[in-house]
C-alpha cells in the first residue's frame, strides 16, 4: 500500500496556495453581490426582496413539459447527482445543468442569486476540508517545511470540489424546475404525485403572506431608521430587534385571525378548487426517460471511472 506522499513547500507558497482560491471566491461573491444590488436602493439589510416564483412566460421545452413528469424527473435526478462522489462526473452534471438553463431560458440574474446564497457554505468547505481531512495511505499532503501540525490534503480538496460541483449542479436546476410553470400549477403537480393536499395549500398561503409580511417589515424598518435607529453590536440593538420581531409576530397573528375568518366566511373548508387540468403525452415521458438516462450515465461514469 502506498504511503502518504508529503510535498514540502515554503511557508509563503503554502499561504499563497490557501489564500489564492479564497481571494478569487471572495472577489467573485463581491462582484455578484454588487451586480445584484445595483438595481435596488442601498439599505442596511442585505436583501429584503423575495424573488418571485412565477412563470416568466415562454414556450421552451421546460414550459411545455408536463408538470408531474418534470417534478419527478428533476427531483430524482437531483438525488442521483447528490449521490455522485468524484469530481469529473460532478462537473459533467454542472454542464448538464447549464444546458438545461439555456434550454429553459432562465433568468441569469436569479441563477446568480442562488449561487450567491450557497457561496458561503461552499467557501467554508473548500477552505476547511483540505486542512482537516486526515491523511490516509495514498494521499498527497502539502506541508510547510518544519511545521507538522498543518497540512493541505489534496484528497480533501478533491472531496470538497466534488461537493461544490454537485451543489452547483442541483442549484442550477432549481430555476428550470420552479420558474417554468406558475407556482399553483407546480404545487398541483406535487399533489398529483402523492404529496398531501395540505402541503400544497400551505406553501401557497405562506408564499402569498411572505410578501405581505415582508412589506410590513420593510415599513417597520423604515420607521425605525427614520427615528435614528442604526444597527450596532450592542445590547440596545438586540433589544430593538427583539421588539421589532415581537411586533411582527403580533401583527401577523392578528392579521391571520381576520384573514382566516374571511376565508371561512367565503366557504373555505380546508381545500382550494383544483387549478389546472394536466395532460401527459408521450413526448413528456420520452423527455423524462432521456433525462434519467443522463443520470444513469453519470452514475456509471462515477462508479466505473474511479
Amino acid at each position: 500500500m502506498p504511503e502518504v506522499t508529503e510535498v514540502v513547500l515554503a511557508a509563503w507558497q503554502f499561504t499563497a496556495l490557501l489564500l489564492a482560491p479564497l481571494a478569487i471566491l471572495a472577489a467573485a461573491a463581491a462582484g455578484l453581490r454588487r451586480l445584484v444590488r445595483r438595481r435596488g436602493v442601498q439599505t442596511e439589510d442585505p436583501d429584503w426582496s423575495v424573488p418571485p416564483l412565477a412563470d416568466a412566460g415562454g414556450a421552451t421545452l421546460f414550459h411545455r413539459w408536463d408538470i408531474r413528469c418534470k417534478l419527478l424527473t428533476l427531483i430524482v435526478y437531483s438525488f442521483i447527482v447528490a449521490s455522485l462522489s468524484r469530481v469529473a462526473p460532478a462537473l459533467a452534471a454542472v454542464a448538464v445543468s447549464l444546458l438545461a438553463l439555456v434550454l429553459a431560458r432562465a433568468s441569469w440574474e436569479r441563477v446568480l442569486m442562488r449561487l450567491l446564497a450557497i457561496s458561503g457554505f461552499m467557501a467554508m468547505l473548500l477552505v476547511i476540508m483540505p486542512l482537516t481531512a486526515p491523511a490516509r495511505p495514498g494521499d498527497t499532503v502539502l506541508v510547510i517545511g518544519g511545521v507538522d501540525w498543518i497540512g493541505f490534503n489534496l484528497r480533501g480538496l478533491a472531496k470538497a470540489l466534488a461537493i461544490v460541483a454537485k451543489a452547483v449542479a442541483i442549484a442550477l436546476l432549481m430555476e428550470p424546475l420552479l420558474t417554468t410553470a406558475p407556482l399553483p400549477v407546480t404545487l398541483h403537480g406535487l399533489t398529483k404525485l402523492g404529496a398531501p393536499d395540505m402541503v400544497g395549500q400551505m406553501v401557497l398561503l405562506s408564499h402569498r403572506y411572505l410578501h405581505v409580511f415582508r412589506h410590513e417589515a420593510e415599513r417597520m424598518a423604515a420607521g425605525m431608521r427614520v427615528r435614528g435607529f442604526r444597527k450596532r453590536t450592542d445590547l440596545e440593538t438586540l433589544r430593538a430587534v427583539a421588539n421589532f420581531l415581537g411586533m411582527l409576530f403580533v401583527r401577523s397573528f392578528e392579521r391571520t385571525e381576520r384573514v382566516f375568518d374571511a376565508m371561512r366566511a367565503r366557504g373555505y373548508r380546508g381545500r382550494f378548487p383544483a387549478s389546472a387540468e394536466l395532460r401527459m403525452q408521450k413526448a413528456d415521458l420520452a423527455l423524462a426517460f432521456a433525462w434519467l438516462a443522463i443520470g444513469a450515465v453519470l452514475v456509471a461514469y462515477d462508479r466505473l471511472g474511479g
Binding site: P46, L53, F79, V81, A82, L84, M113, R114, L115, A117, I118, F121, M124, L125, I128, M129, T132, G156, K159, I163, A165, A167, I170, A171, M174, L178, P196, M198, Q201, M202, V203, L205, S206, H207, Y209, V212, F213, E216, A217, K231, T233, L235, L238, V241, A242, N243, L245, G246, L248, F249, V250, S252, R255, T256, E257, V259, F260, R264, Y268, G270
Partner: protein, 209 residues
C-alpha cells in the same frame, strides 16, 4: 446555517426525508385541519423574521429562531419550520432541495424540545417568562448546531473538521439568539400574552366554538 446539496451521504438525505415526513405528519395531526392556513401564515412571519440580520462585530448573523417558533407554536412548530425551509430552499437556495429533510430535522426537533421546555417552566411572572424564553432561544440554536455537526459527521472522518468549526461558529449565534428571544418573549408577555399560552391554536378553538 443550512446544509447544501451534495454534502451529506445519500442514505442520510433519504433517511432525513423519511424522519421529517413522519414528524411533520405527527405535527399536522396535532394541528386542527381547518387551522392549517393559520400555521401557514405564521410560517411566513417566521420566514421574514429569519431574514433579519444582527450585526456581530465586522460580520452579521441572521436569526434562526427555532426556539421562538417552538415556544409560540408548540407541536405545530415542526410543520411550520418544514414549510419555511421548503420555501427558503425554493426561493433563495438556502439549504438544498435534497438536504431539505435533514435541514428540517436540524431545526424542527430543537423547536419541539424548546416548545416543551418553555411551556413547562415558563411560570406566571413576566420576568420569569423572559428568562425561560431566552434559555429556550439559546437552547434551540445550540441543539440545532449540535444536530448540524452530527449530520456533517455522518460523512466520515473527513468531515469532522468541518463539523467542529460549524459548531464553534454557532457559539456567538447562541448568545445573540438567547438575548433576542428573551427580549421578544418579554415584549410579547407585555403586549399580547395570549400568544404565549400553551398551543394558542387550542385556545382560539374554544372561542370559536
Amino acid at each position: 446555517m443550512h446544509i447544501s446539496d451534495g454534502v451529506l451521504p445519500i442514505s442520510v438525505t433519504v433517511g432525513g426525508y423519511a424522519a421529517s415526513a413522519a414528524l411533520a405528519a405527527w405535527s399536522a395531526r396535532r394541528t386542527r385541519s381547518e387551522e392549517l392556513p393559520k400555521v401557514a401564515v405564521v410560517t411566513a412571519a417566521f420566514f421574514v423574521a429569519s431574514l433579519i440580520h444582527v450585526p456581530f462585530g465586522p460580520t452579521s448573523v441572521h436569526l434562526l429562531i427555532p426556539g421562538l417558533a417552538g415556544a409560540l407554536l408548540g407541536p405545530s412548530a415542526f410543520l411550520a419550520i418544514g414549510l419555511g425551509l421548503l420555501l427558503q430552499s425554493m426561493l433563495f437556495q438556502f439549504g438544498g432541495l435534497t438536504a431539505l429533510g435533514a435541514n428540517t430535522l436540524m431545526m424542527g426537533v430543537p423547536a419541539l424540545l424548546c416548545g416543551v421546555f418553555f411551556q413547562r417552566f415558563k411560570g406566571r411572572s413576566r420576568r420569569r417568562q423572559s428568562i425561560i424564553g431566552g434559555l429556550a432561544g439559546a437552547l434551540g440554536t445550540a441543539l440545532a448546531a449540535l444536530v448540524l455537526a452530527l449530520l456533517l459527521a455522518t460523512g466520515g472522518e473527513d468531515f469532522f473538521g468541518v463539523a467542529k468549526i460549524a459548531l464553534a461558529a454557532h457559539v456567538p449565534v447562541v448568545v445573540i439568539e438567547g438575548l433576542v428571544s428573551a427580549f421578544t418573549i418579554g415584549f410579547l408577555a407585555r403586549v399580547k400574552p395570549a400568544l404565549l399560552e400553551p398551543a394558542f391554536v387550542e385556545t382560539r378553538k374554544a372561542v370559536h366554538a
